[in-house]
Amino acid sequence: MAQPRTTAPDRNRDGEARIGSSARIRGRIHGEGNLVIEGQVHGDVAVRGDLTIAEGASISSQVVEAHALTIAGELEGEVNASGPVTLAAGARVRGNVRGSAVAIDEGARFSGRLDCEFDLPPELGGASRTEGRARASGRR
């Protein structure tokens, strides 16, 4: 008789979570810890850790909340990050993005509003006002 498999092949993945590339989720994902999404998610995502939306992933939701957020896949919905947001090459994002910092790499496609606070460089009057507020919208 085949021996039942035990559940402790690699125990040290506390807090790690991954939605694999063939996975499709319809519903809400929330919690603590980091999350990597490679598959399709239809619904809201709210994690307290870092969220990575990998290449090939596709998310359609109302709000995506995380600390640091890296997007290399497709995302439709509002992004609300307490940390930095990176739109990597190949990303396709439609929706408003808010983060402590936002980086859009070359090759990323973005349509929506950016909302982030940043320090203006001195030549733009940043010497007197240290906090600036950017609202940019791009459409491609």
Binding site: T7, A17, S21, R24, G27, R28, I29, E32, N34, L35
Partner: protein, 104 residues
């Protein structure tokens, strides 16, 4: 390595469907269907109907289970629901309430 891992702090409320393996260490409410192995780890809470190729439960599961190959309820597992699979094992120390159907 499992292709989908629902970490200990993560909760998914809704429907999960995948062709690959799933490991649940967190919470799933709704429905979970996989074509390959499904592992519900110690400390995980699943309130969902689960289908998969094979299923290993060491955590808490409320819902009906259908596996094409086998279901193993390990010590510490707490399962309420019906189990349907050709091969079923229930380890000493597993809690189980429900029907077993091995006539697939």
């Amino acid at each position: 390595m499992a292709s989908t891992v629902i970490g200990a702090g993560i909760t998914i409320e809704g429907e999960i469907a995948t062709d690959e393996d799933v490991v649940v260490a967190g919470t799933v409410r709704g429905k979970l269907s996989a074509k390959e192995a499904v592992t519900i780890e110690h400390g995980a809470t699943v309130e969902a109907d689960v289908t998969g190729g094979s299923l290993v439960v060491a955590g808490s599961l409320t819902g009906n289970v259908t596996a094409t190959e086998r279901v193993d309820l390990q010590s510490g597992a707490r399962v309420i629901g019906n189990v349907k699979a050709a091969r079923v094992t229930i380890a000493d120390g597993a809690q189980f309430k429900g029907n077993v159907d091995m006539d697939v």
